[in-house]
C-alpha cells in the first residue's frame, strides 16, 4: 500500500561561495527518494537563494518510507563543467509515519558535506499522506513507536511489556568494495552514510514487524549499534523491549486499545534466527542441549557435570564460569540447577515464580532493555550476569542470511539466560549488548541484571499500575524488596554473606549488590551516591587470527577479575554497599586490552554496612614493612572516614543490633552446585566473600598489590559542589533546578614509551580518566552546585599506542539548600517504625551484629584488631590465584589450538548481591523542588534559532514532556585531507562534534521539538594519518525528540523564540 511523500524546498542561506569569480553561487536542489529524483530551478548568483519550489510528490510503498531517507542535495550549477555538490541533507521521515508523533517536518537543516562539514542551511518542508495498510502479510510496520529511553516514556503508561526484540542486518561495507579504489572519498563516504541510513531503516521496520506480531505498539529502550567489521562487512543490530503503551493524557492513542493476544505469537518469532546452530558446522554439537525453548524446570541437573575447569575468571561472582562452547562439551545449563533448586525457598516465592514463569517461559529470551521500571514491576534483583565471547570475523557471504552473527548473539543470550537462572531469576533487566573489534577479532559482550519481575505486566488484560495486586506481591516493602535475594539461601549460586534485611527484617539480603539498572526510585538510600570506576590495561602480544583470539580470551577472565576487585575495593573505600548502572567495557587493541567498569555506588539502607579494608603484609617479620603497612592502613581508614562525610553516609548503627541472621557457610553451599571439577575448591578459597563484620583484606605481598592500593588511594576527590554518577538519578539529590549542560568530550592519548609495563599503562589510563573528570569539574565550575549525571565513558584503542576515551554526560544544577533534607533521617526513622510493625521475631537473630559495630568503629579509628578474623576467607591471594589461572589457561590454550577459524569463547558471569533497608517512599525521583526556577537556560530571548536542549537522561529537570516526536538516529562521516589547516586532530574533531550537535538540534527543531532526551553517542570512530594530513571520523548518535513544557505550563513552549535578534541584543549593552 502506498503512501505519498511530499517535499518542498523553500530557501537556502549562508551558502558557501562556489564561484570564485563572482563570489556567489548558482544553487539548485535535487530531491531524491528511492529512485525518483526531482530538481528545483537554479537560483542564480545568490548565497541566500529562494527557491520556493512546488511540492515534489513521491508515491511509494510504506515499506520504502520506513527504510529510505529523503535525500536533499544542494548543487552549484555550472554551465560548462559538472555541477559541484555543495552538500546533502538526509531526512528520516519515520517520525511522520506515526500518527502520534510529528505531522510535518519543516525547518532549517544544515547542509552537510562529508569533506567540508556544514555549508549553509536549507529550509525544507516534508509531509506524508499514509494509507493504512492492514494487510496481514505486509512488510511494513508503520506506526510502531520507537524510544531510546530505557524506561516507560513519561507521557505513556505501560499496558503491557511484551519482552525482548532483536534483529540484525548485514551488508558489505562500501568502504571496502573494489569500487572504492576509484571513487572519491566523498562518494565513498556518502555511499556509506546512505547505506547505514537504509540499514537502520530496514532494521527498525523489521523490529516493528516483530513488535506487531507480539501485539505491541512500541519499542522502548531501543538500542541500535553498528559493527564496522572492516573487510568482513557492516553489521547493524538492534535490541529493544516491545511494549504496549497507552498515552496518558487525554489525547489520541486509538490503536492501543486492545492488543490482547500477546502470547499467541510463537516464541520463535521473537527471534528469527535462533537455534540454527546445529546446522552450523562450526558450532557443532555444543549448543544443542541448551538452546531451544527452555523451561525453568527443565534445568538439567545432570548436565552440571563440568563447567570447564575454569576458575577465578570472575571474582565478582565469587565464582567464575567461563566456558568455551566450542571446546568443551559442557552445556552451560549446568548453572541452571542451582537456580531451580532454589524453588524450595518459600511457597510464596515459588508461587510467584511460577506465575511469572508462565508468562516469561514462552519467550525465548526474557530480557528487558529497560533500566527503570514502573513501581512494583521489579520484585527481586539477583545480580549482574554477563557473557563475553571472542570471535574471529569472517566475510559475510550472504548478507540476506546473517546466520553467523545471529548465531553468535544467540549463543551469548542463551548463556546470559542460564546465568540468570542460576541466580534463581527468570528475567534479565537492564540488558545490553556491545562489541569491540580489532582487525579480525571481535569480542561480543552482553550483560544485564538477573531479576524476578512481577507477572502482572506480562499477562494480558493487564492491570492498571494503580491497582495493586496483592496476591503475588511479595510482602516486602518497595523500598527494600528488590534487594531481597531471589535465590535460595541454602543453595546459593555463589558464596555470599546473607543477613536479614536491614529494613524489613524479614527477608535475606546479600552484603553487596551489583546491578546494571538504575536505582529504583522507591529504594531507600543513605547519603549520596558517587561514580565508581575501575580501570585496567593489559598488554598483549601482537598476533594474528586464532592465536590472537586465544590470547585475548585468555586475558579476559583476568581482566574481569581485576576490574571486579577494583570496583569492590573502591566501593568499600567509599563505605557503600551497592552498585547501579554497572557497565563493563573491554576494548581490544593490537597490543593491549583496555577494561573500564563504571557504576554508581550507593549505600542501600537495606544492606549491611560494608566492612572496612584491611591491609595485611605477607612478611610479618619485617619491621619497616610493618610500619609501611600501618601507614597505608591509616590512610585507608582516614579515607573511608572522609568519604563517609563527603557522601553523608551515616547509617543507623543502632539497627544493626536488631538484625542478624544465621550466616550460612558459603563454602559448603557453594559446593553443592558447583561442578566437581578440581577447581571448585580453589575457587571457593579464593572467594572474596566476607562477613559483614570482616574487613575486606588486601594482602600486600608484591609490588603489584602496592600499586593497586596506591591507585586505590590516589583516586582524586570530587571538588566540593560537584557530584557525579552514571545513572539517571543521583541518589541523595532531589531538587534539580533547570540548568542543563550536555557535553561530549573525547581524548586520545599516545603512549610514548614503547616498552611499558602493565602498571605503567594502568597508571596512564587511570590518569587519563581522572584528568577528564577533573577537566569537567573545572569547565563546569560556574554551575556549582551541580551533578554530572549519566557519565558514559567509552574506551577504544584505535591504533597501536593510542588510547581513546569518549565521554558524554550532562551537568545539572540543583538547589543546595534542599539537598540535605531527604537523606538519612527520614528513611531511618520511618524504617524503624515499619520494622517494629512488621518484625515478629526481632532480637535473637543478631548474634554477631554488635561485634560488627565494634569492629567497624575500630576500623575507623585505625586500629588493627581484626586482621586474623577474616584474612583467610577474604584475602585476595594473588599468588595462588595466578597458579590456578595458569593451569587453566594452558588448558584453554591447548584447546584453542584445536579449533578452526570460528570462535574462541570465554564467558563469564557476575553475580553479586547485597541488600538494604529502608522505607522512604519517594515515588518520584525528582520531587517538587525542581519546579522552581526552571528558567535559567531558557532565558535566551530573541534568537531566530530554536533552542534545543539535549540530555542523556530520560527527562529534563523542571519540565514535563508532553509529546514524543520520534526517534533520532543519525550517522555521520567526516573526512579531511587538510588536517593541519583545520586545526589539527582536535580542531577537526571539535568542529565535527559541534556539527553533529547542530544537525541533531536542527532535525529536532524541524519536527517541532525543543529537546532531545536519552541522547547518546553510540559510536565515535576516529582515524588519522597525520603524515598524509588526513583524518576520518564516524559518529553515530541517537535519542528521542520531544516537546517539553515547563512543569507549571500547560502550553508547549513556543518553539521559535522571537524572530529577530538584532535590536534586542544590543539593547543589552
Amino acid at each position: 500500500m502506498p503512501g505519498k511523500l511530499k517535499a518542498k524546498i523553500v530557501a537556502g542561506r549562508h551558502l558557501p561561495v562556489m564561484d570564485r569569480a563572482s563570489d556567489l553561487t548558482d544553487a539548485f536542489v535535487e530531491v531524491k527518494f528511492g529512485n525518483t529524483t526531482f530538481k528545483t530551478d537554479v537560483c542564480p548568483k545568490s548565497l541566500n537563494p529562494q527557491w520556493n519550489s512546488e511540492w515534489f510528490k513521491f508515491e511509494v510503498d510504506d515499506e520504502d518510507l520506513q527504510d529510505e531517507p529523503l535525500q536533499v542535495t544542494v548543487l552549484d550549477h555550472d554551465t560548462y563543467s559538472a555541477n559541484d555538490a555543495i552538500g546533502k541533507v538526509y531526512i528520516d521521515i519515520d517520525p511522520l509515519l506515526c500518527n502520534e508523533a510529528a505531522s510535518v517536518i519543516s525547518g532549517w537543516f544544515p547542509i552537510y558535506d562529508t569533506i567540508h562539514g556544514i555549508r549553509g542551511e536549507i529550509n525544507v518542508l516534508v509531509k506524508v499522506e499514509l494509507f493504512n495498510d492492514l494487510n496481514r502479510f505486509r512488510q511494513s510496520s508503520c506506526g510502531v513507536k520507537f524510544f531510546c529511553t530505557t524506561s516507560i516514556p513519561r507521557c505513556y503508561r505501560a499496558a503491557m511489556v511484551h519482552g525482548f526484540v532483536e534483529e540484525l542486518v548485514v551488508n558489505e561495507d562500501p568502504e571496502y568494495q573494489w569500487i572504492d579504489r576509484i571513487r572519491t572519498p566523498r562518494a565513498s563516504n556518502e555511499a556509506r552514510q546512505r547505506l547505514i541510513s537504509l540499514m537502520s531503516g530496514e532494521l527498525q521496520r523489521k523490529i516493528g514487524l516483530k513488535v506487531l506480531e507480539m501485539g505491541g505498539n512500541a519499542v522502548v529502550g531501543y538500542l541500535q549499534c553498528f559493527d564496522l567489521e572492516g573487510e568482513s562487512g557492516l553489521v547493524v543490530r538492534a535490541i529493544g523491549t516491545a511494549c504496549t503503551l497507552d498515552k496518558l493524557s487525554s489525547g489520541s492513542a486509538p490503536n492501543t486499545a486492545t492488543h490482547t493476544h500477546p502470547n499467541t505469537a510463537p516464541a520463535s518469532n521473537a527471534c528469527n534466527s535462533p537455534s540454527k546452530d546445529g546446522k552450523e558446522p562450526v558450532f557443532g554439537e555444543d549448543l544443542l542441549s541448551s538452546s531451544g525453548p527452555p523451561t525453568p524446570f527443565r534445568a538439567l541437573p545432570t548436565s552440571s557435570s563440568s563447567p570447564p575447569p575454569l576458575s577465578p575468571s570472575k571474582p565478582c561472582s565469587r565464582q567464575s564460569s567461563s566456558s568455551d562452547t566450542d571446546l568443551s562439551l559442557t552445556p552451560k545449563t549446568g548453572m541452571g540447577s542451582g537456580g531451580s533448586a532454589g524453588k524450595e525457598a518459600g511457597p510464596l516465592k515459588t508461587l510467584l515464580r511460577q506465575q511469572t514463569q508462565t508468562a516469561l517461559e514462552q519467550r525465548e529470551f526474557p530480557f528487558f532493555t529497560l533500566t527503570s521500571f514502573p513501581p512494583g514491576f521489579l520484585v527481586h534483583v539477583g545480580g549482574v550476569v554477563s557473557a563475553r565471547s571472542v570471535k574471529l570475523l569472517d566475510r559475510i557471504h550472504n548478507p540476506d542470511e546473517p546466520e553467523t552473527r545471529d548465531a553468535w548473539w544467540e549463543e551469548i543470550r542463551q548463556e546470559i539466560k542460564s546465568h540468570a537462572k542460576a541466580l534463581g531469576c527468570h528475567a534479565v533487566v537492564g540488558y545490553s549488548e556491545s562489541t569491540s573489534i580489532c582487525e579480525e577479532v571481535c569480542i561480543l559482550s552482553a550483560s544485564g541484571t538477573a531479576a524476578i519481575l512481577n507477572p502482572r505486566y506480562m499477562r494480558e488484560g493487564c492491570l492498571d499500575i494503580g491497582i495493586v495486586d496483592h496476591r503475588f506481591e511479595d510482602p516486602s516493602p518497595p523500598s527494600c524488596g528488590f534487594c531481597h535475594i531471589p535465590y535460595d539461601e541454602l543453595n546459593m549460586p555463589f558464596p555470599t554473606q546473607l543477613t536479614y534485611c536491614y529494613h524489613c527484617r524479614r527477608q535475606k539480603v546479600p552484603d553487596v549488590l551489583f546491578t546494571t539498572i538504575d536505582l529504583p526510585p522507591e529504594a531507600a538510600v543513605t547519603g549520596k551516591g558517587c561514580l565508581i570506576q575501575a580501570r585496567l590495561c593489559r598488554l598483549k602480544k601482537k598476533a594474528q587470527g586464532e592465536v590472537n583470539a586465544t590470547a585475548i580470551s585468555n586475558l579476559l577472565p583476568f581482566m574481569e577479575y581485576e576490574l571486579h576487585t577494583q570496583l569492590m575495593n573502591k566501593l568499600k573505600l567509599r563505605s557503600m554497599n551497592a552498585l547501579f548502572g554497572l557497565r563493563i567495557q573491554i576494548s581490544i587493541g593490537e597490543n593491549m586490552l583496555l577494561g573500564l567498569a563504571s557504576a554508581t555506588g550507593v549505600y542501600l539502607t537495606a544492606l549491611p554496612a560494608p566492612g572496612g579494608i584491611q591491609i595485611a603484609g605477607k612478611t610479618p617479620g619485617d619491621l619497616s614493612n610493618e610500619h609501611h603497612i600501618l601507614t597505608i592502613q591509616k590512610r585507608i581508614n582516614d579515607t573511608i572516614a572522609k568519604n563517609k562525610e563527603i557522601y553523608q553516609i551515616n547509617p543507623p548503627e543502632l539497627t544493626e543490633e536488631v538484625v542478624g541472621s544465621p550466616i550460612p557457610e558459603p563454602r559448603q553451599r557453594s559446593r553443592l552446585f558447583r561442578s566437581h571439577s578440581e577447581s571448585s575448591d580453589e575457587v571457593s578459597e579464593l572467594d572474596l566473600s566476607h562477613g559483614k563484620k570482616d574487613a575486606f583484606v588486601l594482602e600486600i605481598d608484591d609490588t603489584d598489590a602496592v600499586e593497586d592500593i596506591h591507585s586505590l588511594l590516589t583516586d582524586a576527590t570530587i571538588p566540593t559542589g560537584f557530584n557525579s554518577c552514571n545513572t539517571e538519578i543521583m541518589p541523595g539529590i532531589y531538587n534539580w533546578t533547570s540548568a542543563v549542560q550536555m557535553f561530549t568530550s573525547v581524548r586520545v592519548f599516545r603512549l610514548s614509551n614503547a616498552n611499558l609495563t602493565n602498571q605503567g599503562l594502568n597508571k596512564i589510563f587511570t590518569d587519563l580518566c581522572e584528568n577528564l573528570l577533573k577537566s569537567f569539574y573545572f569547565k563546569l565550575r560556574s554551575m556549582i552546585p551541580c551533578c554530572l549525571c549519566h557519565l558514559n565513558f567509552t574506551v577504544a584503542v584505535p591504533e597501536e599506542e593510542l588510547i581513546q576515551v569518549a565521554v558524554t554526560a550532562v551537568a545539572m544544577t540543583y538547589d543546595k539548600d534542599q539537598t540535605q533534607e531527604k537523606p538519612a533521617e527520614k528513611p531511618i526513622t520511618k524504617g524503624c517504625i515499619e520494622t517494629e510493625e512488621q518484625l515478629q521475631f526481632p532480637m535473637e537473630l543478631c548474634a554477631d551484629s554488635s561485634s560488627t559495630n565494634t569492629q567497624l568503629s575500630s576500623k575507623i579509628s585505625g586500629v588493627q584488631e581484626t586482621t586474623n578474623v577474616s584474612s583467610r576467607a577474604a584475602s585476595v591471594d594473588y599468588g595462588s590465584f595466578a597458579d590456578r589461572c595458569s593451569t587453566w589457561l594452558e588448558l584453554l590454550r591447548l584447546k584453542a589450538h584445536t579449533i578452526r577459524r570460528g570462535s574462541v569463547k570465554t564467558s563469564r558471569r557476575t553475580q553479586s548481591l547485597a541488600h538494604s533497608v529502608s522505607s522512604l517512599e519517594r515515588s518520584s525521583p525528582v520531587p517538587d523542588g525542581r519546579s522552581r526556577s526552571l528558567r535559567s537556560t531558557r532565558g535566551f530571548g530573541g534568537s531566530s534559532v530554536t533552542v534545543v536542549k539535549m540530555t542523556p537522561l530520560s527527562f529534563l529537570p523542571g519540565t514535563r514532556i508532553i509529546k514524543y516526536l520520534g526517534i533520532i538516529n543519525m550517522f555521520f562521516i567526516r573526512e579531511t585531507t587538510s588536517l593541519r589547516e583545520e586545526g589539527g586532530v582536535s580542531g577537526f574533531l571539535h568542529s565535527f562534534i559541534a556539527e553533529v550537535f547542530a544537525m541533531v538540534r536542527a532535525h529536532v527543531a524541524a519536527l517541532g521539538g525543543n529537546a532531545v532526551v536519552s541522547y547518546s553517542m553510540k559510536e565515535c570512530v576516529f582515524m588519522e594519518n597525520p603524515n598524509k594530513n588526513q583524518a576520518q571520523c564516524l559518529i553515530n548518535v541517537s535519542g528521542d525528540a520531544v516537546i517539553c513544557v515547563r512543569e507549571t505550563d500547560q502550553e508547549p513552549v513556543p518553539s521559535n523564540i522571537g524572530q529577530t535578534c538584532t535590536s534586542e541584543t544590543d539593547g543589552a549593552t
Binding site: 586520545v748 584528568n771 569547565k779 534559532v945 536542549k949 549593552t1069
Partner: protein, 384 residues
C-alpha cells in the same frame, strides 16, 4: 599529560569571558595559561595546570571557530553550529569589535589597505598591543568600512544594525570609517596629544554637519563624504575678515555669546581678528582634498597660538546650534544668520553637554566645533 587529541563540546557552547579576553588580546595559549594561573582560578576549583591548559585550548578553538561568524555578527544569531544564548552573543560581538585606543590612534586616518596592514608589527611594537590583536582590530575596521561603504542611510545606524554593536561602539566605528575615508592626517607630532576620543568627537560633529547626509539622508555614502557644495560655500566666509562691518558684527555676536563663559574670554576678545582670520582661511581652502587631509594640522598650526588660551573648558555650545547653521549654509542664509543672536546662554549650559568643547564664533562654529577638542586639549597643555 600531553594529549594527542583533546576536545570538549557542550550543547550550549561554554565560553569563559576571561579566556575570551585573553584570546582577543592575542595571548598565546601558554601565555594565557600563565595569566590564568596567576589569576587564581586554580585554587578556586582545585584544578591543575594540565586542566587549565586543556580548557584554554578548547576555548581558543571554540573562539577560532566562532570568529568566522563574528565577521558578520548577524549570522551568529541564526547559525546552527553553536548554541549560544543571545546575551552571550552580544558580549561576544561587542568584545570582538572593541579596540584599543592606543592602536586606533595609530591607524586613524590611514588608508585601510594592505600596505597599512604590513606596518602593523611596528604599531604593535609601539603600542604594546600584540600583533594578533592589532590584526584583528585592523580587520574589523576594514570590514566595517567595506560594508558601510555601499550602504545608504545614516552611518552610525548602519554600523549598529549590521554589526549589532552598542551605540557607543557604533559611533566610534563611524568616526574611524569617516577618518579613513577622508584620510585626515592625525599622525603628526603636533597632533599627538589628541586622543582617539577627541577625534571621534570631531568626527561626530563633521558627520552631523558637514556631510551630504546632513542635508539628504538617503544618499549613498551620505555620512562618509564631506559635502562638496558646502565646502565650496565656505569660501564665501572670507567676507567675515575682509568686510570690517561684518567682522565687528561677528565679533560682537561671538562675544555676547561667550561672555562670562570662558576664562580666556579677554584674550579671545583681544585676539579676535587673528583668530577669525586663521579659521576662515582654513575653511576657505577646504575644497582642496589635500587641505582637507591637513585640516587638523592646520587647525593647530595655523591659528594663533593664543587659541588655546581663549578657549576654556567651561565654554559650551550646544550642538544643535551647529547643525542649524549647517543646514542654512548657503551663502544667502549664511550672512543673515550672523544677525540672529546666539542661543541663550541658559539653554546652552543646561542642555546636556555632549562633551565639553569651546567655540568662538559663528564662522568658527563651522570649524571650531570640531577643532574644539583639539583646542581643549591644547589648553590643558598650556595650563601645565
Amino acid at each position: 599529560m600531553a594529549m594527542e587529541l583533546d576536545v570538549f563540546v557542550g550543547n550550549t557552547t561554554i565560553m569563559d569571558e576571561e579566556v575570551y579576553q585573553l584570546w582577543l588580546d592575542g595571548y598565546t595559549v601558554s601565555d594565557a595559561v600563565k595569566v590564568r594561573m596567576e589569576g587564581g582560578v586554580m585554587e578556586e576549583c582545585e584544578a591543575s595546570a594540565d586542566v587549565l591548559l586543556s580548557d584554554t585550548m578548547d576555548q581558543y578553538r571554540t573562539f577560532q571557530m566562532c570568529e568566522r561568524l563574528l565577521y558578520s555578527p548577524a549570522k551568529l544569531a541564526n547559525q546552527l553550529l553553536f548554541q549560544i544564548p543571545p546575551h552571550r552573543q552580544a558580549i561576544l560581538i561587542e568584545r570582538y569589535y572593541a579596540f584599543d585606543d592606543a592602536f586606533v590612534r595609530e591607524v586613524l586616518g590611514k588608508k585601510l589597505s594592505k600596505g597599512t596592514k604590513k606596518d602593523l608589527d611596528d604599531i604593535s611594537a609601539k603600542t604594546n598591543v600584540t600583533l594578533k590583536s592589532c590584526r584583528r582590530q585592523f580587520d574589523n575596521f576594514k570590514r566595517v568600512f567595506k560594508v558601510v561603504e555601499e550602504l545608504k542611510g545614516p552611518l552610525v545606524e548602519n554600523i549598529r544594525q549590521h554589526f549589532l554593536l552598542s551605540d557607543k561602539l557604533a559611533r566610534d566605528y563611524a568616526a574611524i570609517v569617516f577618518f579613513a575615508n577622508n584620510r585626515f592626517e592625525t599622525g603628526k607630532r603636533k597632533l599627538q596629544y589628541l586622543t582617539f576620543q577627541d577625534f571621534a568627537f570631531c568626527a561626530g560633529q563633521l558627520i552631523n554637519n558637514w556631510t551630504v547626509g546632513a542635508v539628504d539622508n538617503m544618499v549613498e555614502d551620505m555620512d562618509v563624504d564631506l559635502d562638496k557644495e558646502f565646502l565650496q560655500e565656505l569660501k564665501e566666509l572670507k567676507i567675515l575678515i575682509t568686510d570690517k562691518d561684518l567682522l565687528d558684527q561677528h565679533k560682537s555676536l561671538v562675544c555676547t555669546a561667550l561672555r562670562g563663559k570662558t576664562k580666556a574670554f579677554n584674550e579671545m576678545e583681544a585676539n579676535f581678528k587673528n583668530l577669525s582670520r586663521g579659521l576662515v582661511n582654513i575653511a576657505a581652502k577646504l575644497t582642496n582634498t589635500k587641505d582637507v587631509r591637513d585640516f587638523f594640522i592646520d587647525l593647530v598650526e595655523k591659528t594663533p597660538s593664543c587659541v588655546g588660551q581663549i578657549h576654556g573648558r567651561h565654554q559650551k555650545l550646544y550642538l544643535q546650534n551647529v547643525s542649524r547653521l549647517k543646514r542654512i549654509s548657503s551663502p544667502a542664509y549664511f550672512f543673515p544668520c550672523l544677525s540672529p543672536p546666539p542661543p541663550p546662554a541658559d539653554a546652552v549650559i543646561s542642555a546636556p553637554p555632549v562633551r565639553t568643547f569651546s567655540v568662538f564664533d559663528l564662522s568658527a562654529v563651522i570649524i571650531s566645533s570640531l577643532s574644539a577638542s583639539l583646542l581643549e586639549s591644547s589648553v590643558c597643555k598650556s595650563d601645565l
